[in-house]
Symmetry: C2
Subunit: 218 residues, 2 copies
Protein backbone atom coordinates (compact mmCIF):
# COMPACT_ATOMS: atom_id res chain seq x y z
CA UNK A 1 0.00 0.00 0.00
CA UNK A 2 1.34 3.36 -1.01
CA UNK A 3 0.45 6.21 1.32
CA UNK A 4 -0.01 9.79 0.19
CA UNK A 5 1.44 12.93 1.70
CA UNK A 6 -2.09 13.86 2.70
CA UNK A 7 -2.41 10.63 4.65
CA UNK A 8 0.70 11.49 6.64
CA UNK A 9 -0.48 15.05 7.25
CA UNK A 10 -3.78 13.73 8.59
CA UNK A 11 -2.08 11.24 10.87
CA UNK A 12 0.20 13.90 12.34
CA UNK A 13 -2.75 16.23 12.79
CA UNK A 14 -4.97 13.68 14.51
CA UNK A 15 -2.27 12.32 16.76
CA UNK A 16 -1.61 15.89 17.86
CA UNK A 17 -5.36 16.19 18.54
CA UNK A 18 -5.54 19.17 16.26
CA UNK A 19 -3.38 21.21 18.57
CA UNK A 20 -0.20 21.18 16.62
CA UNK A 21 1.75 19.26 19.20
CA UNK A 22 4.84 17.30 18.29
CA UNK A 23 4.26 13.62 17.67
CA UNK A 24 6.72 10.75 17.63
CA UNK A 25 7.87 8.77 14.62
CA UNK A 26 6.67 5.52 16.17
CA UNK A 27 3.22 6.90 16.92
CA UNK A 28 2.81 7.90 13.29
CA UNK A 29 4.08 4.51 12.13
CA UNK A 30 1.67 2.64 14.35
CA UNK A 31 -1.32 4.78 13.39
CA UNK A 32 -0.59 4.33 9.71
CA UNK A 33 0.35 0.69 9.92
CA UNK A 34 3.73 1.24 8.42
CA UNK A 35 7.36 1.07 9.63
CA UNK A 36 9.14 3.84 11.54
CA UNK A 37 11.84 4.05 8.90
CA UNK A 38 9.26 4.79 6.24
CA UNK A 39 7.88 7.53 8.43
CA UNK A 40 11.32 9.09 8.83
CA UNK A 41 11.70 9.19 5.07
CA UNK A 42 8.35 10.80 4.51
CA UNK A 43 8.59 13.42 7.24
CA UNK A 44 11.94 14.51 5.85
CA UNK A 45 10.20 15.03 2.55
CA UNK A 46 7.31 16.89 4.17
CA UNK A 47 9.84 19.02 6.00
CA UNK A 48 11.59 19.91 2.72
CA UNK A 49 8.25 20.96 1.30
CA UNK A 50 7.48 23.27 4.19
CA UNK A 51 4.59 21.18 5.44
CA UNK A 52 6.14 19.79 8.63
CA UNK A 53 8.74 20.73 11.19
CA UNK A 54 11.15 17.89 11.76
CA UNK A 55 14.01 17.69 14.23
CA UNK A 56 15.78 14.32 14.19
CA UNK A 57 14.94 12.27 17.28
CA UNK A 58 12.53 14.99 18.42
CA UNK A 59 9.42 14.15 16.45
CA UNK A 60 7.32 16.08 13.95
CA UNK A 61 4.74 18.81 14.00
CA UNK A 62 2.91 20.57 11.22
CA UNK A 63 3.89 24.01 9.99
CA UNK A 64 1.15 26.61 9.61
CA UNK A 65 0.90 25.60 5.98
CA UNK A 66 0.66 21.93 6.95
CA UNK A 67 -2.12 22.72 9.41
CA UNK A 68 -4.05 24.49 6.71
CA UNK A 69 -3.89 21.37 4.59
CA UNK A 70 -4.99 19.21 7.53
CA UNK A 71 -7.91 21.48 8.34
CA UNK A 72 -8.98 21.53 4.73
CA UNK A 73 -9.04 17.73 4.79
CA UNK A 74 -11.06 17.67 8.00
CA UNK A 75 -13.47 20.20 6.53
CA UNK A 76 -13.96 18.16 3.38
CA UNK A 77 -14.30 14.91 5.30
CA UNK A 78 -17.00 16.27 7.57
CA UNK A 79 -18.92 18.08 4.85
CA UNK A 80 -19.03 14.88 2.81
CA UNK A 81 -20.26 13.01 5.89
CA UNK A 82 -23.12 15.47 6.23
CA UNK A 83 -23.93 15.04 2.55
CA UNK A 84 -23.96 11.26 2.80
CA UNK A 85 -26.28 11.26 5.79
CA UNK A 86 -28.60 14.09 4.77
CA UNK A 87 -28.89 13.43 1.06
CA UNK A 88 -27.92 9.83 0.43
CA UNK A 89 -29.53 7.89 3.28
CA UNK A 90 -26.31 6.80 4.90
CA UNK A 91 -26.34 6.28 8.64
CA UNK A 92 -23.77 8.04 10.74
CA UNK A 93 -21.78 4.87 11.35
CA UNK A 94 -21.44 4.08 7.63
CA UNK A 95 -19.99 7.32 6.37
CA UNK A 96 -16.40 7.24 7.51
CA UNK A 97 -14.89 4.94 4.91
CA UNK A 98 -16.45 6.77 1.98
CA UNK A 99 -15.65 10.23 3.35
CA UNK A 100 -12.08 9.02 3.71
CA UNK A 101 -11.94 8.74 -0.06
CA UNK A 102 -13.99 11.83 -0.89
CA UNK A 103 -11.85 14.13 1.22
CA UNK A 104 -9.01 13.79 -1.29
CA UNK A 105 -10.98 15.24 -4.22
CA UNK A 106 -9.42 18.50 -5.30
CA UNK A 107 -11.74 21.34 -6.30
CA UNK A 108 -12.29 24.52 -4.35
CA UNK A 109 -15.58 25.18 -6.09
CA UNK A 110 -16.80 21.72 -5.21
CA UNK A 111 -16.22 22.25 -1.49
CA UNK A 112 -17.69 25.76 -1.44
CA UNK A 113 -20.79 24.67 -3.29
CA UNK A 114 -21.19 21.53 -1.22
CA UNK A 115 -21.05 23.67 1.92
CA UNK A 116 -23.71 25.98 0.49
CA UNK A 117 -25.86 23.07 -0.72
CA UNK A 118 -25.86 21.62 2.79
CA UNK A 119 -26.80 24.95 4.36
CA UNK A 120 -23.40 25.68 5.91
CA UNK A 121 -23.57 23.00 8.60
CA UNK A 122 -21.57 23.56 11.80
CA UNK A 123 -21.19 19.94 12.82
CA UNK A 124 -20.92 16.54 11.13
CA UNK A 125 -23.22 13.57 11.85
CA UNK A 126 -21.05 12.56 14.82
CA UNK A 127 -21.41 16.02 16.33
CA UNK A 128 -17.85 17.02 15.49
CA UNK A 129 -17.39 20.61 14.38
CA UNK A 130 -16.70 21.51 10.76
CA UNK A 131 -13.87 24.02 10.34
CA UNK A 132 -14.61 27.07 8.20
CA UNK A 133 -12.90 27.69 4.88
CA UNK A 134 -10.29 29.64 6.81
CA UNK A 135 -9.73 26.76 9.20
CA UNK A 136 -11.59 28.15 12.19
CA UNK A 137 -13.82 26.09 14.43
CA UNK A 138 -17.01 27.49 15.86
CA UNK A 139 -16.88 26.93 19.59
CA UNK A 140 -19.24 24.02 20.15
CA UNK A 141 -18.94 23.57 23.88
CA UNK A 142 -20.65 26.38 25.74
CA UNK A 143 -21.63 27.24 29.25
CA UNK A 144 -25.39 26.99 29.73
CA UNK A 145 -25.35 30.30 31.60
CA UNK A 146 -25.48 33.22 29.14
CA UNK A 147 -23.79 31.43 26.26
CA UNK A 148 -26.54 29.28 24.80
CA UNK A 149 -29.32 30.84 22.70
CA UNK A 150 -32.92 29.71 23.19
CA UNK A 151 -33.85 26.79 20.93
CA UNK A 152 -30.38 25.32 20.87
CA UNK A 153 -30.01 21.63 21.59
CA UNK A 154 -26.95 19.68 22.61
CA UNK A 155 -25.43 17.12 24.90
CA UNK A 156 -24.41 17.62 28.52
CA UNK A 157 -20.68 17.38 28.89
CA UNK A 158 -17.82 17.92 31.31
CA UNK A 159 -18.86 19.65 34.50
CA UNK A 160 -16.55 21.75 36.64
CA UNK A 161 -18.43 21.37 39.89
CA UNK A 162 -18.47 18.11 41.81
CA UNK A 163 -20.16 19.33 44.97
CA UNK A 164 -22.84 17.15 46.60
CA UNK A 165 -25.79 19.46 45.83
CA UNK A 166 -24.76 19.70 42.19
CA UNK A 167 -24.38 15.94 41.76
CA UNK A 168 -27.69 15.44 43.50
CA UNK A 169 -29.28 17.81 41.05
CA UNK A 170 -27.91 15.84 38.10
CA UNK A 171 -29.06 12.58 39.60
CA UNK A 172 -32.53 13.81 40.43
CA UNK A 173 -33.04 15.01 36.87
CA UNK A 174 -31.62 11.92 35.26
CA UNK A 175 -28.80 13.78 33.57
CA UNK A 176 -25.84 11.62 32.64
CA UNK A 177 -22.82 13.32 31.18
CA UNK A 178 -22.04 12.58 27.56
CA UNK A 179 -25.42 11.45 26.41
CA UNK A 180 -28.29 13.44 27.82
CA UNK A 181 -29.88 15.76 25.31
CA UNK A 182 -30.90 19.19 26.47
CA UNK A 183 -32.87 21.91 24.79
CA UNK A 184 -32.66 25.50 25.95
CA UNK A 185 -36.22 26.75 26.42
CA UNK A 186 -36.21 30.08 28.17
CA UNK A 187 -33.75 32.33 29.91
CA UNK A 188 -34.60 34.74 32.78
CA UNK A 189 -32.99 38.10 33.43
CA UNK A 190 -31.22 36.68 36.48
CA UNK A 191 -29.59 33.85 34.51
CA UNK A 192 -31.85 31.08 35.79
CA UNK A 193 -33.44 29.16 32.97
CA UNK A 194 -35.78 26.49 31.69
CA UNK A 195 -34.48 23.51 29.80
CA UNK A 196 -36.16 20.50 28.31
CA UNK A 197 -34.79 17.06 29.16
CA UNK A 198 -36.52 13.90 27.98
CA UNK A 199 -39.74 15.74 27.18
CA UNK A 200 -39.90 17.36 30.63
CA UNK A 201 -39.24 21.05 31.14
CA UNK A 202 -37.36 21.88 34.30
CA UNK A 203 -36.17 25.11 35.86
CA UNK A 204 -32.57 25.47 36.96
CA UNK A 205 -30.86 28.17 38.97
CA UNK A 206 -28.19 30.42 37.54
CA UNK A 207 -25.66 28.80 39.84
CA UNK A 208 -26.24 25.38 38.35
CA UNK A 209 -26.39 26.85 34.84
CA UNK A 210 -22.94 28.28 35.38
CA UNK A 211 -21.58 24.78 35.90
CA UNK A 212 -23.38 22.88 33.17
CA UNK A 213 -21.74 22.73 29.76
CA UNK A 214 -23.45 21.92 26.51
CA UNK A 215 -21.91 20.45 23.37
CA UNK A 216 -23.99 22.04 20.63
CA UNK A 217 -25.34 19.61 18.08
CA UNK A 218 -27.69 21.85 16.14
Amino acid sequence: MTLSEEDYIKAIYHLGKGENTTVSTNAVAEQMETKPSSVTDMIKKLSDKGVANYKPYKGVSLTEYGQKIALSLVRKHRLWEVFLVENLNFSWDEVHEVAEQLEHIKSEKLVDQLDKHLGFPQVDPHGDPIPSKKGEFKKTIKKLLNEVPVGTSGICVGVKDSSTPFLKFLDKNDISLGDTVLVMEKEEFDGSLNIKIKEKIIHISNQIAANLYLKITE
Copy 2:
Protein backbone atom coordinates in the same frame (compact mmCIF):
# COMPACT_ATOMS: atom_id res chain seq x y z
CA MET B 1 2.66 10.82 -13.00
CA THR B 2 1.59 7.38 -11.98
CA LEU B 3 -1.39 6.01 -13.87
CA SER B 4 -3.88 3.59 -12.36
CA GLU B 5 -5.25 0.41 -13.86
CA GLU B 6 -8.60 2.15 -14.06
CA ASP B 7 -7.06 4.91 -16.17
CA TYR B 8 -5.83 2.32 -18.67
CA ILE B 9 -9.17 0.54 -18.74
CA LYS B 10 -10.92 3.82 -19.49
CA ALA B 11 -8.50 4.69 -22.27
CA ILE B 12 -8.94 1.31 -23.94
CA TYR B 13 -12.70 1.61 -23.59
CA HIS B 14 -12.93 5.10 -25.05
CA LEU B 15 -10.54 4.45 -27.91
CA GLY B 16 -12.70 1.48 -28.81
CA LYS B 17 -15.72 3.82 -28.72
CA GLY B 18 -17.38 1.57 -26.20
CA GLU B 19 -17.67 -1.22 -28.70
CA ASN B 20 -14.97 -3.48 -27.46
CA THR B 21 -12.83 -3.20 -30.53
CA THR B 22 -9.12 -3.90 -30.40
CA VAL B 23 -6.95 -0.83 -29.96
CA SER B 24 -3.25 -0.38 -30.65
CA THR B 25 -0.51 0.11 -28.11
CA ASN B 26 0.51 3.40 -29.66
CA ALA B 27 -3.02 4.76 -29.60
CA VAL B 28 -3.25 4.05 -25.89
CA ALA B 29 0.15 5.60 -25.29
CA GLU B 30 -0.77 8.77 -27.14
CA GLN B 31 -4.13 9.12 -25.42
CA MET B 32 -2.57 8.69 -22.00
CA GLU B 33 0.50 10.77 -22.71
CA THR B 34 2.86 7.98 -21.86
CA LYS B 35 5.29 5.75 -23.76
CA PRO B 36 4.34 2.65 -25.75
CA SER B 37 6.68 0.49 -23.69
CA SER B 38 4.86 1.51 -20.52
CA VAL B 39 1.60 0.55 -22.16
CA THR B 40 2.93 -2.87 -23.10
CA ASP B 41 3.90 -3.48 -19.48
CA MET B 42 0.52 -2.44 -18.14
CA ILE B 43 -1.60 -4.34 -20.64
CA LYS B 44 0.33 -7.50 -19.86
CA LYS B 45 -0.60 -6.94 -16.25
CA LEU B 46 -4.24 -6.28 -17.12
CA SER B 47 -4.23 -9.41 -19.21
CA ASP B 48 -2.92 -11.49 -16.30
CA LYS B 49 -5.72 -10.12 -14.16
CA GLY B 50 -8.40 -11.10 -16.66
CA VAL B 51 -9.32 -7.52 -17.47
CA ALA B 52 -7.90 -7.30 -21.00
CA ASN B 53 -7.20 -9.58 -23.95
CA TYR B 54 -3.67 -9.05 -25.20
CA LYS B 55 -1.99 -10.64 -28.19
CA PRO B 56 1.55 -9.32 -28.78
CA TYR B 57 1.69 -7.00 -31.80
CA LYS B 58 -2.07 -7.35 -32.24
CA GLY B 59 -3.36 -4.77 -29.78
CA VAL B 60 -5.65 -4.97 -26.75
CA SER B 61 -9.35 -5.25 -26.08
CA LEU B 62 -11.28 -5.50 -22.83
CA THR B 63 -12.64 -8.78 -21.53
CA GLU B 64 -16.24 -8.89 -20.41
CA TYR B 65 -15.03 -8.24 -16.89
CA GLY B 66 -12.93 -5.31 -18.11
CA GLN B 67 -15.93 -3.85 -19.89
CA LYS B 68 -17.96 -4.04 -16.72
CA ILE B 69 -15.33 -2.01 -14.94
CA ALA B 70 -15.25 0.54 -17.77
CA LEU B 71 -19.01 0.89 -17.80
CA SER B 72 -19.10 1.30 -14.06
CA LEU B 73 -16.59 4.15 -14.41
CA VAL B 74 -18.63 5.80 -17.17
CA ARG B 75 -21.73 5.45 -15.04
CA LYS B 76 -20.11 7.04 -12.03
CA HIS B 77 -18.54 9.80 -14.10
CA ARG B 78 -21.83 10.80 -15.68
CA LEU B 79 -23.88 10.56 -12.50
CA TRP B 80 -21.41 12.83 -10.75
CA GLU B 81 -21.63 15.26 -13.64
CA VAL B 82 -25.39 15.42 -13.22
CA PHE B 83 -24.94 15.99 -9.51
CA LEU B 84 -22.47 18.81 -10.04
CA VAL B 85 -24.72 20.60 -12.51
CA GLU B 86 -28.05 20.00 -10.82
CA ASN B 87 -27.10 20.39 -7.20
CA LEU B 88 -23.86 22.33 -7.06
CA ASN B 89 -24.26 25.07 -9.66
CA PHE B 90 -21.54 23.83 -11.98
CA SER B 91 -21.97 24.53 -15.66
CA TRP B 92 -21.75 21.63 -18.08
CA ASP B 93 -18.32 22.68 -19.31
CA GLU B 94 -16.80 22.75 -15.81
CA VAL B 95 -17.69 19.31 -14.62
CA HIS B 96 -15.31 17.02 -16.44
CA GLU B 97 -12.18 17.50 -14.38
CA VAL B 98 -13.94 16.99 -11.06
CA ALA B 99 -15.97 14.01 -12.30
CA GLU B 100 -12.68 12.52 -13.45
CA GLN B 101 -11.66 12.35 -9.80
CA LEU B 102 -15.02 11.40 -8.36
CA GLU B 103 -15.46 8.42 -10.67
CA HIS B 104 -12.72 6.56 -8.79
CA ILE B 105 -14.51 6.60 -5.43
CA LYS B 106 -15.38 3.06 -4.42
CA SER B 107 -18.77 2.47 -2.77
CA GLU B 108 -21.67 0.66 -4.32
CA LYS B 109 -24.12 2.24 -1.92
CA LEU B 110 -22.83 5.68 -2.81
CA VAL B 111 -23.51 5.20 -6.52
CA ASP B 112 -26.93 3.61 -6.00
CA GLN B 113 -28.05 6.36 -3.67
CA LEU B 114 -26.63 9.10 -5.87
CA ASP B 115 -28.58 7.66 -8.79
CA LYS B 116 -31.75 7.65 -6.69
CA HIS B 117 -31.09 11.14 -5.31
CA LEU B 118 -30.81 12.49 -8.86
CA GLY B 119 -34.02 10.80 -9.93
CA PHE B 120 -32.41 8.09 -12.07
CA PRO B 121 -31.25 10.38 -14.88
CA GLN B 122 -30.82 8.85 -18.33
CA VAL B 123 -28.32 11.34 -19.70
CA ASP B 124 -25.53 13.51 -18.38
CA PRO B 125 -25.30 17.30 -18.85
CA HIS B 126 -23.64 16.80 -22.26
CA GLY B 127 -26.55 14.63 -23.38
CA ASP B 128 -24.52 11.42 -23.21
CA PRO B 129 -26.40 8.39 -21.93
CA ILE B 130 -25.77 6.98 -18.44
CA PRO B 131 -25.37 3.20 -18.38
CA SER B 132 -27.53 1.30 -15.91
CA LYS B 133 -26.08 -0.56 -12.95
CA LYS B 134 -25.91 -3.61 -15.19
CA GLY B 135 -24.03 -1.70 -17.86
CA GLU B 136 -26.87 -1.24 -20.30
CA PHE B 137 -27.52 1.95 -22.19
CA LYS B 138 -31.04 3.15 -22.81
CA LYS B 139 -31.32 3.77 -26.49
CA THR B 140 -31.15 7.53 -26.83
CA ILE B 141 -31.34 7.93 -30.55
CA LYS B 142 -34.84 7.17 -31.79
CA LYS B 143 -36.81 7.46 -34.97
CA LEU B 144 -39.38 10.24 -34.72
CA LEU B 145 -41.99 7.92 -36.25
CA ASN B 146 -43.60 5.75 -33.57
CA GLU B 147 -40.60 5.69 -31.23
CA VAL B 148 -40.76 9.04 -29.43
CA PRO B 149 -43.37 9.68 -26.72
CA VAL B 150 -45.20 13.01 -26.60
CA GLY B 151 -43.41 15.60 -24.48
CA THR B 152 -39.97 14.29 -25.22
CA SER B 153 -37.34 16.76 -26.34
CA GLY B 154 -34.07 16.13 -28.11
CA ILE B 155 -31.72 17.09 -30.87
CA CYS B 156 -32.07 16.30 -34.56
CA VAL B 157 -29.35 13.94 -35.66
CA GLY B 158 -28.21 11.72 -38.52
CA VAL B 159 -30.73 11.38 -41.29
CA LYS B 160 -30.96 8.42 -43.63
CA ASP B 161 -32.72 10.18 -46.49
CA SER B 162 -30.92 12.70 -48.69
CA SER B 163 -33.59 13.17 -51.35
CA THR B 164 -34.30 16.69 -52.61
CA PRO B 165 -37.79 17.00 -51.05
CA PHE B 166 -36.49 15.90 -47.68
CA LEU B 167 -33.57 18.32 -47.68
CA LYS B 168 -35.89 21.08 -48.82
CA PHE B 169 -38.11 20.29 -45.89
CA LEU B 170 -35.21 20.58 -43.45
CA ASP B 171 -34.09 23.82 -44.99
CA LYS B 172 -37.54 25.37 -45.05
CA ASN B 173 -38.01 24.62 -41.37
CA ASP B 174 -34.56 25.79 -40.33
CA ILE B 175 -33.53 22.41 -39.02
CA SER B 176 -29.79 21.88 -38.85
CA LEU B 177 -28.53 18.49 -37.82
CA GLY B 178 -26.74 18.24 -34.53
CA ASP B 179 -28.10 21.30 -32.79
CA THR B 180 -31.75 21.97 -33.45
CA VAL B 181 -33.97 21.18 -30.52
CA LEU B 182 -37.26 19.49 -31.18
CA VAL B 183 -40.17 18.74 -28.89
CA MET B 184 -42.69 16.05 -29.76
CA GLU B 185 -46.13 17.63 -29.39
CA LYS B 186 -48.77 15.35 -30.82
CA GLU B 187 -48.94 12.14 -32.79
CA GLU B 188 -51.74 11.18 -35.24
CA PHE B 189 -53.07 7.69 -35.86
CA ASP B 190 -51.45 7.68 -39.31
CA GLY B 191 -47.99 8.50 -37.98
CA SER B 192 -47.94 12.13 -39.04
CA LEU B 193 -47.16 14.42 -36.14
CA ASN B 194 -46.71 17.87 -34.68
CA ILE B 195 -43.38 19.02 -33.37
CA LYS B 196 -42.20 22.25 -31.85
CA ILE B 197 -39.07 23.84 -33.27
CA LYS B 198 -37.89 27.23 -32.08
CA GLU B 199 -41.24 28.06 -30.52
CA LYS B 200 -43.15 27.22 -33.69
CA ILE B 201 -45.32 24.15 -34.01
CA ILE B 202 -45.21 22.45 -37.37
CA HIS B 203 -46.89 19.41 -38.81
CA ILE B 204 -44.83 16.75 -40.55
CA SER B 205 -45.88 13.73 -42.60
CA ASN B 206 -45.27 10.17 -41.50
CA GLN B 207 -42.84 9.77 -44.39
CA ILE B 208 -40.62 12.54 -43.14
CA ALA B 209 -41.01 11.37 -39.54
CA ALA B 210 -39.67 8.00 -40.59
CA ASN B 211 -36.45 9.64 -41.67
CA LEU B 212 -35.85 12.07 -38.85
CA TYR B 213 -33.92 10.83 -35.83
CA LEU B 214 -33.90 12.39 -32.39
CA LYS B 215 -31.21 12.19 -29.77
CA ILE B 216 -33.19 12.28 -26.54
CA THR B 217 -31.98 14.80 -24.00
CA GLU B 218 -34.78 14.70 -21.48
